[in-house]
Symmetry: C3
């Protein structure tokens, strides 16, 4: 092989490596938080903060039943239509209202689990969200779910890096993530 | 380094790049649709069609409770054994029969959600499946689930790209996908 | 381009390929088994053993409701506090105790499914776990869940490759896996 030949082949290899670099997943974890159960949302935040601690970037997309978990109980907003008022009343208002997916037993199981978590020094959901905020976990909230459930942006929790968006924007993140979970 | 040495090293690098190219994930999303809940199946199709819109290839593997969602209410088939008849009667017969995983409230919540979706111009499950078919989303149906539940191929919906297969064929797809979800 | 120039560029490309090699996902599947439902845990093991059969390495992380599935009914341990005793009594004790997520119908649906699986020659959960052990599927058990539920290591099943660890250790595995699922 002569020098010129080598150069040509080299350039081709270089562009292949460039393409691979573009396709390579980033050190990132993406999660779709579809569930609004206390245990599952808690697991999502434990995974999220654990991943940040390991140097990963984290994006959480809250959709469907996950959306009302991010409402702020203190914030009452008016101007809702009847459907919005009904959903507003029926769905949990924030972290304090969410229940276990299992063994809720009319709230007793959930209360028991919360007291147990305190005793065992496991962070509560509220503390986990605060930690996630500090660790710069990005939160996306599904616009379609907000619209369907009649939620207003003003009634959601204050969280530094919270964006309202559609599924497409989330999929863009997931598409170059090492790990994507549906919770 | 002389020319010959460089060539040897170059060839080695080339084969490494080839190996990387083979291992690199494709621009593809794979989903295991295990759940038969209206909200979760709907979410699966929203994700599927959204991903196609972004240029991704999509494969959905329907298994366990997800399987009866793809039955066609119009198609009655005979020749089932007793177990098959029982499952046939107890499991939902297609999209019209599926319920919310949450707040179903004896069907009222599901009906409310459906009417709300219509009002907000969110596509129904039937419309989403038609859209997925048009967008060439591939559907795999788990053969073991079909067999367990006593379903016959003739009672499933007409869908252009529908294949009956085992978990191994799905895992092959997932293995070179950028995103794989269990829903 | 002269020889020296080519060499410099070649070395740069080489280090890029090295970096890509380090980042490339391994032929590995990771699963978080959060659910303790018979159908979901069964699906997890079907996926796990199917993946091994395809030449993949498999790691399963049992957490929350998934943890009690791995208890051994034969092993009674003492020295638990009141909370530990309560959870011990309320949560399923191993594979024989777990229920379907759907159509359990007071245990009748679960019994029906089990007898159906036997009839159709689908392996039971106990058989699947034995097969997974033989196929060298690695099992991680979440230490936080063990602690929360008051489980002792001595009451878990004998399984060759079982490790008690935190979420960080699992995320390390997931981070270089081709597929990661949350079940």
């Amino acid at each position: 092989m002569d020098m010129q030949n080598l150069e040509v082949q080299f350039d081709e290899l270089k562009s292949q490596v460039e393409a691979l670099n573009k396709k390579a997943a980033e050190n990132k974890l993406s999660m779709i938080v579809f569930s609004g159960d206390l245990d599952k949302v808690l697991a999502a935040f434990i995974i999220a903060t654990g991943a940040v601690a390991m140097g990963m970037e984290v994006v959480m997309f809250f959709t469907f039943w996950g959306t009302p978990v991010l409402r702020d109980k203190q914030k009452n907003v008016g101007g809702k239509d009847m459907m919005g008022k009904m959903f507003g009343a029926m769905l949990p208002t924030g972290t304090g209202d969410v229940k276990l997916s299992n063994m809720n037993m009319g709230g007793m199981g959930t209360a028991m689990m919360k007291s147990l978590m305190k005793k065992k020094n496991v962070a509560s959901l509220e503390e986990m969200i605060a930690l996630a905020e500090e660790l710069e976990v990005r939160i996306y909230v599904c616009e379609m779910s907000m619209d369907l459930m009649g939620f207003k942006r003003e009634e959601m929790i204050a969280y530094k890096d919270l964006t309202f968006c559609g599924v497409a924007k989330f999929l863009e993140e997931a598409n170059n993530s090492r790990i994507t979970l549906f919770i």
